[in-house]
Subunit: 451 residues, 2 copies
């Protein structure tokens, strides 16, 4: 597939800006040194994993896989990038020449998007020469650390909402491009819609919206504002009722729209009390099908606290795009095995640093979700040998890139469906909001020094 063509929105968009400089400088200087020392061509295996989940979280959610595939495809050094690298002395001329021809030709395996993960789960594995695999470190981690953090928070909110729809509306509280990725990640985790139009265009996430207080204030009266909105958007629209006085606004809204009014939105006050009052008022006005949408600094705990309130939908902003206290997933990208020499058949050797505090396990790893006869997951097994899944177990890593060719693309809807299944399979404790241990234990099976 040519970059800039094809049907994938992000690839087309990315053609305007490559991803190759979304990279830490040291990746390129390490490349230069390795090219010179003759080690750049050694085969290497890098793995992405989290040493732990954010404090108290019971599972993580893999998201961003599709965006990584787009980023790998767009990872080319064009004339602009190369000129800048050369002019600023970032790397030497032989390295510039190497980068000019660079295209990732390795293999990538990973947990499919939407899957759950746990501490030490090897959620992505990049195999290639050291040179080509080290270059992807920064952009791969950027995407996964962001998107997994957002999806992991979003999934808790979806669980807390117990089937009521969630609108993602945090774009204004996040960097303008991370907002688009957040909307995508929230959709994978089960949000119904997003306010973000670019997420609609790039990723086909369903979009939704209501109106702002400024729209009411623009008009000479709330009545005029409601009339204007109804005339333009129809009676199924959502009217914002808390600019002045909620009770008066609800009365005006139903008077103008009739009982077929789609919904009202409450953005302030004690949402449980307000929702109860508004529900009673709507019912008394025979607007029994008019829904109540609540917004205003909601997070998973605020959503859960409204479980008994007559609420029909939640809008979530800040807490979603900031990962509800865990804005990054703390995933790392570690060299776990490399060849002893430059030849393609040189033996592979597991490697790991031994410094204090941050130990890691060497060797190329496989992972299996253990599932009992009742369909309940009970363990995550990580092994350095070939996986030996039982009849209901799921081998977790799937091929995403084969010899440089992207083979792992899928509709976003598939990731969303997969996530719903993966959470349903976890022990019931997984969806408790209280702080706890990971819902599944990670078990290691060390099959010895084979990488």
């Amino acid at each position: 597939m040519d970059v800039g063509e094809g049907t994938n929105g992000e690839v087309t968009a990315a053609a305007g800006r490559g991803t190759a400089l979304l990279t830490d400088r040291y990746e390129l200087t390490m490349l230069q040194a390795a090219l010179r020392s003759g080690t750049a061509g050694r085969r290497a295996v890098f793995e992405v994993f989290a040493r732990s989940l954010p404090a108290g979280r019971r599972y993580g959610v893999v998201a961003g896989t599709g965006r990584i595939l787009d980023a790998i495809e767009a990872f080319r050094f064009g004339p602009d990038e190369l000129d800048w690298l050369a002019a600023n002395g970032i790397v030497d001329e032989p390295t510039v020449q190497w980068l000019e021809k660079f295209r990732f030709t390795g293999n990538v395996w990973g947990y499919p998007e939407g899957e759950c993960y746990f501490p030490e789960s090897p959620i992505l594995r990049v195999e290639g020469t050291f040179a080509e695999a080290v270059l992807l470190e920064t952009v791969v981690l950027s995407i996964l650390n962001h998107d997994c953090a957002i999806a992991s928070a979003a999934s808790r909110m979806v669980q807390a909402a117990q089937g009521r729809p969630l609108i993602e509306m945090g774009s204004r509280r996040a960097h303008e491009r991370s907002a688009v990725a957040s909307a995508r990640a929230a959709y994978v985790a089960g949000f119904a819609t997003t306010s973000n139009l670019e997420a609609g265009r790039l990723y086909d996430v369903p979009t939704a919206g209501t109106s702002a207080h400024s729209f009411t204030l623009l008009h000479d009266s709330e009545r005029h504002a409601f009339e204007a909105q109804l005339a333009s958007l129809g009676e199924s629209t959502t009217l914002l009722v808390d600019t002045y006085d909620v009770e008066r606004a609800v009365r005006t809204a139903v008077e103008l729209a009739g009982p077929a009014l789609g919904a009202v939105r409450i953005d302030s006050g004690d949402l449980a009390v307000m929702a109860r009052r508004v529900r009673d008022q709507l019912d008394s006005l025979d607007a029994r099908d008019t829904r109540i949408v609540v917004t205003g600094d909601l997070d998973e705990y605020g959503i859960a606290a409204l479980a008994a309130a007559p609420v029909d939908g939640y809008g979530v902003g800040t807490s979603l795009v900031t990962g509800s206290g865990a804005p990054t997933a703390s995933l790392v990208y570690k060299l776990v095995a490399r060849a002893d020499g430059p030849d393609a058949d040189a033996p592979m050797r597991p490697v790991a640093k031994r410094s204090s505090g941050k130990p890691s396990r060497g060797g190329r790893k496989a992972a299996v979700r253990r599932v009992d006869p009742h369909g309940a997951a009970y363990a995550e097994t990580v092994s350095t040998g070939e996986p030996a899944p039982g009849p209901r177990d799921r081998v977790l890593q799937v091929p995403l890139v084969r010899q440089g060719e992207i083979i792992g693309r899928e509709p976003l809807r598939d990731a969303r469906d997969r996530h719903a299944r993966a959470v349903a399979e976890l022990p019931a404790t997984a969806v408790q909001l209280s702080r706890g241990e990971p819902a599944l234990p990670t078990e290691f099976v060390d099959d010895g020094p084979r990488p």
Copy 2:
């Protein structure tokens, strides 16, 4: 200036992807309703401010202004955007036609980039028709909420470092594009360098880097790895010494590089203890000018705790790009005044919502930083009338866009210098890391109903 030409990197880059759909759906549906009700052309004044600073913070830092100007310039609805809006029924045909011709023709005033701000400081003011000003809401807030959050955290780290240089190296912990903006914001706040190459290319932020554990592990021994790095990057490079055994690594490093070795990096362990040991060892090896750079989950508190340690530079990652506990600045974009009718000379009226919990003050506001004869700032005055600055006071809002023309661009270095001056002028309590009240009180002068 034509979008896609000119010397500004971000504008050129933005040409590949416009900013018009980095917008919440409701902005466009409110536009549609206002076009139909005849209120879209009413003159309007929107202001950006924070109701409060993040808990315990003593000042905020304005950052992102330059990026907002680029985003406004690139805010056009091209055929791709319009086709998508029409095909998906987001807005009706008259609105699509209006958007096709849209270009922002209003005025923007704001605190210059790098300036400090406090609760209720009107850091940006957008004036135009309601239609054109409401459309900018999402992207303006996205940029400011992100960049101000990062710069505000970065400034505290700079103060904690007391003159020692800081390297921004958080790209891998943030969305790949917010990483670039974070590097830019950190530079405004006083960071010396960034690891992010795209920030170097787009914004001329100086870049820096060391090497990773993977580079050492790639080689047959640490000695081979150091030899390779020194051969390629020279003796002024920074060698990472904690892959295996720090003491042995330092000995090997100085043996290979000689006393002119640029620096060593320590990424794990008790950094204060390790730095002391490594300093003693380096001195005993006569490598007295070899610097020590420390990294590893540092935030402003960790930096401050190392004040007495022999550290020559800090690398900061996660805590920087996540705003060190405050990943968004909680800035809002509120309609504060609008015309009574459609004519250009219709009288302006201050407006504000009256719902519970989130009151706001109507009326177009001016702001002045009050400065005493010793050059010390002592108050932030916000008034609905014209400002009346004393001889040393500083009028805070400057023109950024005049009738749609971008007039507020400046070199990023100017914002960085401005920030250093603005912090130096604050009371000494401002730079304490402990939780406290805003360093300056915000005083309101209400000159009555004139907007």
